[in-house]
Subunit: 335 residues, 6 copies
């Protein structure tokens, strides 16, 4: 088993029950999550030693975040307590033809307002196999752009593999600013989650005439050329039939080879938030376990598919359960 | 923006949670609604000035009806308080192959028992663009047959366009009685919601050999000939795959032209009660806004499709949200 | 109307709400059920006089079982009170690609621990048309193997038709032990629920090369040859698209003829536990009412399909409702 | 054990959760109940053979009433199916200083509209020990005034003891009309639930200067003089501290003696609907079991106190549980 | 009936169900409220014409606020849409000995960040009887200190009575800053809610040796001397037995006379948030209706007591219901 | 901060919502707990390093137990996975005069069936300050009587203080058997929770004529004489007003001195299960922190009182929150 550090913001999500809008809702579901925390939880579920570093306010809500992470056996020694507020967002759950919609209320959070790296990086990164971070963090502030670069460099220096999920969010920063920043980060990255839109919009790769069959591999190859240091590219192809039914395929690029998972038809979707993180968690697990590329992408896609079947941001499945799901097919009752 | 009066009965609906029959239900969902109230709420959501005229008992339930309408900014100055009871009905929610079933308990309601028009019609219809009423109202009593005709004539006299939704309910009156009554009303109607079954069963139009492609247009044309005063016919074509999955297409007849919306595959259905009213609300909005016929039917069908995705009888969407839904496609998360 | 005795264990089922795993669940749904109890409830719903014989602890939980049966008008005079515990099991409800999973906690129950037939069989079987029991009962203990055989022989002696549902559960006993026991029972059976896997794994019939079209009939014919005393074989063919969507077809073998119901596409599934029992209940109802074989299999399959649309183990529909469902098609609102 | 017939209306009650008004309630709790049905259920819980006679509509709601009664082992052979609607009422649950409030919606119900005794009284009353009815029934219509008298006379003729609960409701009839009617009924009554207000307002007994200590006995004695045929008077004294806390004392008059229970301080009240019926049920149980008067009033008051601790109209306790409650004191955990 | 403008912040409150802490809560109750909005709703419930002026973000949450106000017939023409976020706070509901606790998350809200008076005051205050505002508003920013003074002066200029609720919150500003600001405002105030702590901590009145009986009147008199322009002082005396049981007494000072309501023992408390606003609403209603001082304080205290019996921030009672509550005593069922 | 090991059974509790009996309950609340686990969680909440040793089945239910403990930062390295079932029990929640009642279903559990000490005691007890165990464990089997003695002796040998909570349960063993066993254990115990009934029924101390004031101290002194090795006796005095209202006083005996906490009036009780464990947790915390005896008993009683205000078996409060509660009084809102 490996040792992993993930670092990023964790937020409180308020979501409506499917079939109700905000104006109809006397109560809202409350879930804690964030990309890096979710990846950490996945890896802890698989038995790895995981530290999640972040900052939450010193209130009972901050404590609730801590206990959320403890529940999944994530180490919170580097979860700082302080600052002004816990970032939140509101999700009006979609159903059928009606999309979900999100209202962010994350500005001014304890994490976003950080102006310096308050952790002791030497101990944080000591003996760590993988350091995972996402493109949401540098999107939070100018300071975080600087700090993200510093973190990645330090992690490398201390011998960690650096995993980076581009995770571009247009509500947080422009393509231009994101592209500049991310292109500075990628030379220090080992594993990178990036898709076609990232390649085109952020990394300046020319848009290819449509050939859906091969397009993912095409862009992986182009990105690989730009950043030969990256050992692994991965992302999911999602076809949205409706807010309740999606098709999901996992893809992977490794050693100039393209790998693709079986197709998962996900219907109904219970909660798709965190599915990408579950996919990333599966990929990193595969790398830590030195699995074959095809096995890695199969495992990670299965994990992502399973995530859609449970409420909340985080994967609730052990590696044995993901493996069983891969072999046992779809939807039979087990008794 | 326009000014609209709708008039009719509003009831309290008790419904089971999907997957439970009445005998399994310790609690029932409570929703207030009625065709004309629902149309009024749709139009108020789109920014029009809407009056809903009706009568409810002078109890806290009557007050709850009033506050339901207020919540959607519908004017209740013409919602009378008095009479004996609030009409109710029970809905055993369907799911999959199992149909919903309804038990009406609306006899003797404050509205149904009205014996005279207790509103001052001169002020009610003053400066009003559209007066909307449905075929359920004359189905309630002999008195209401007379009063409906009187209302329509007066509305016309005061310069309103008259909108009439045939909305035939076999549990309330016979085809014969309904046909006679409705044929008396239609000469005073400007916009009419009517479909093939109305044409054949109530208006005496001969049943055409099956040609599904063109049949709606065929019947619209025949009805138009009978009632040349009607400027607009509209209705939805619903294909019921199951209680949980329906296909919906909106249709419109205007100036001897037939228009049809894109196809909406609605799966799963959260609550289909009020979908027809949402469609009518969209049509009337289009007329008030002088939109093109194709745009009207597209907007109205989108509104009806969206209604299926929320609990309760009434449309919960603004005109901007309906327009976004039309352009943005189906089920993508917005963040 | 007929008179029926069913006998077996009844358990308390704890299930999660769809979309939650055990670890996410602050509360669990509680349902009482068991194959023979469920069949009894179906038959009582159809108007037959039904006795359910079993044993539950003398606690308020035992009383809750009794009142569960009373609610469906099942006679509990032969429901003994005593022993140590009520058998339970845990169901993590499946959804979409994720299967349900079951944890049994039924060992040591009041029923399983019985060491003798504590009922007066002469009065129990007096004037009874059908005695129904399943293969789960002899799987509970050596004693129950002996007692099951005794029960069947006595039932026959007192003039009952014997109905037996093989219902093989690999978590309770081995194929070898089950096969030996069941082959001893079948010579005394009149109506038997058995499928291909039972034929091959338990009754020693050779596995036929795949020919899905005819395979059910093929195995029925082989079983008929082995047990010419059995007048009726029946079972369902279930195609699992996912935990939320299944296809269901009912099959029947009678007088050397094979009968098959229409296809039911069940989507979404509310709760599939007890669907097989609803099917058996429909078959036995058809036999009691001397319906034609095709009508029997149609009725029974409709009952099984309806069962999928309600929570809990037991069929909630009258014979009129099942018949309406058969004729009225799928999913239309009734108003 | 005895055999009892109770006869009256059974209704569907819709109640809010404590702390919510109707206008705040998206769902309402649904309970079935009525004075005579509730008394019947209490007696069935105590092991007596109980028939409840009434009329409910021939719908799934009527069926739900039937299954509600079955759940408590009440015989529904004399529960007729027909007529127009199930009577309902709405309860806005009180809490603390805020009273509950009720909106009746019972007019026009299947039972209230009955114009003749549709039961075969010879078989209904055959071998029956007690026939129980309340003053609500003659309040429903002129026809029911005649029919109630006829029922009581017939019951006597067939050898039943007649139990009558005056249960005056000012919303249903005037004191004058009630007084006249009830005074005609009481000469045929054996057991009568009546209190001070009944004595003064309906039976014309002069109001005594306040002497709270003895006033109940005083009025019992006066009523006894007017109706020497009545063997037993009983009622509860309730002191309302608030909607959440009441004091309850049971009283009984038998053989010119006055009996009073211990004081029950009930705090908090879960649901007080049906507490009087639970008291009556306890009294009749005591008479059937030939218990001593003090034991009867103690048992009945304990049953009434327990009723306050459960949701719904009906007593949920066996005679052993009531007896345990009497001896074991208040509120200790049993483990 | 009068015409009233209230102005202030409205927030989204997230609260736990009693008996659960945040860390145990998978969902949180969502209520919209704020002191001035709550006072406005009370007055609208009593039939007055009420405008609530504020600013909320232009999102579906802002719309939900608008519809919350509409539901109670509050005019939202002056509810601006814009700015960055809706202020929120978290309430861990107290019970028994355990206090409630609050986490504010209101910084940066659309209202708090306002830098100028974006309303047209001439039309806002046109023909208005009372303008109501609280001390929370100037606590939000330096700008709001200036703007509050400006609002009050303008309101006076346009002929409104100015109502001011000191409502000091130590988490928002220091006593010193609050005192300075409020002392500048009070010369323009007509009706003022202020208690002993306000007098001592903010207005510099010397602390009197304890004499609980008369202390409220004592401080009213002192404050009256400082601000002879104020016609009315009012506040409630609350004795906290526990988080579930409080005693409440309303007090009023008018024309050099002290008035006190009857004592309300409130047990259990459903939700005490907004009780002070319900009291203020009752006082202002009394002033608008020119009621006698004793009647005013009785009405207002009854309204405040009733508020404790319902969930949410706002009073749900009409003036008739408050009056009934005053006369009918405590907790009787109304049927 | 200290290091603590607790060891015992952990069970799944199913409880009804207050106001519902089992027969009324479609769902049951699910909580994990057990005396030693609860004490461990309290101590982990206070910041101590806590190991909980036990055995649960290797199923998703066993995993849910593990994650329950993780959520409170309890170390589960010594939580074995294996055996046949998770022990359960059913709690029908009491309210007002109606007591709670419990149905145990714990026989045959993975823990109860253990036949040997499967942990490596040398590592388990390494560097541990306190080892805590209760009298429930030796009540489970003969083997557990032997193993408990062995555990205690070994713990002592490795330098731990031994904490023992007598926790006599009459449903598990007789007073005679319990007395014999416990008297063998007590010579190795340092801290002991024991009350008057334990002294009299198990330890053979003569029953003193009633003098409630001093009786606890009297029995502590007698027990101290019997077991001079014990440094600390503690228990709570609970006066049960009703199932919803209790009075609680904590008591302590140390160095021949008797200490008593302030009186806590607990009304309403949310959930009293685990209150004794919360008290024990507070006592052990005080010992680890070397607090003064009066401070210890005050802290522990406050913790026990707080436990009554939350659902579930375990204390949800940090040491700071308990301390705040001690100083800040009762029920004030904190904002």
């Amino acid at each position: 088993m490996g040792k992993v550090v993930t670092l990023g913001e964790i937020m409180l999500r308020f979501s409506t029950q499917a079939g109700n809008r905000f104006v109809q809702s006397d109560s809202l579901q409350a879930h804690y999550g964030g990309g890096e925390a979710n990846v950490g939880i996945s890896l802890a579920n698989y038995g790895h030693e995981v530290v999640f570093a972040s900052k939450v306010p010193d209130t009972t809500l901050g404590e609730a975040v801590r206990q959320h992470l403890w529940k999944y056996h994530v180490d919170t020694r580097y979860l700082l307590a302080g600052g002004k507020r816990l970032g939140t967002y509101y999700l009006e759950t979609g159903i059928g033809e009606r999309s979900a919609s999100v209202i962010y209320d994350r500005a001014g959070s304890s994490f976003a307002e950080m102006e310096g790296l308050e952790w002791d990086l030497a101990t944080l990164f000591n003996d760590v196999d993988i350091f995972h971070i996402s493109g949401i963090t540098p999107a939070l502030s100018k300071s975080w752009q600087t700090m993200t670069l510093e973190l990645i460099k330090q992690a490398r220096k201390f011998g960690c593999k650096v995993s980076f999920d581009i995770n571009y969010r247009s509500k947080l920063w422009s393509q231009k600013e994101a592209g500049q920043t991310i292109r500075q980060l990628l030379p220090y990255v080992d594993y990178c989650s990036a898709g076609k839109l990232d390649a085109v919009n952020l990394l300046g790769i020319a848009n290819e005439p449509d050939d859906e069959e091969h397009e993912v591999a095409f862009y992986y190859e182009k990105m690989q050329k730009l950043f030969p240091n990256i050992q692994l590219f991965y992302s999911t192809k999602r076809t949205v039939h409706s807010a309740s039914a999606n098709q999901l395929i996992g893809t992977l690029w490794h050693n100039q080879q393209y790998y693709e998972s079986a197709i998962h038809e996900i219907d109904p979707i219970v909660d798709r938030v965190g599915a990408g993180d579950a996919f990333a968690g599966g990929i990193l697990h595969g790398m830590l376990e030195k699995m074959q590329p095809q096995a890695i992408v199969d495992f990670a896609t299965a994990a992502a598919a399973l995530k859609h079947t449970v409420y909340g941001d985080c994967n609730q499945f052990s590696k044995e359960e993901v493996a069983d799901f891969l072999t046992c097919g779809s939807g039979k009752i087990m008794r």
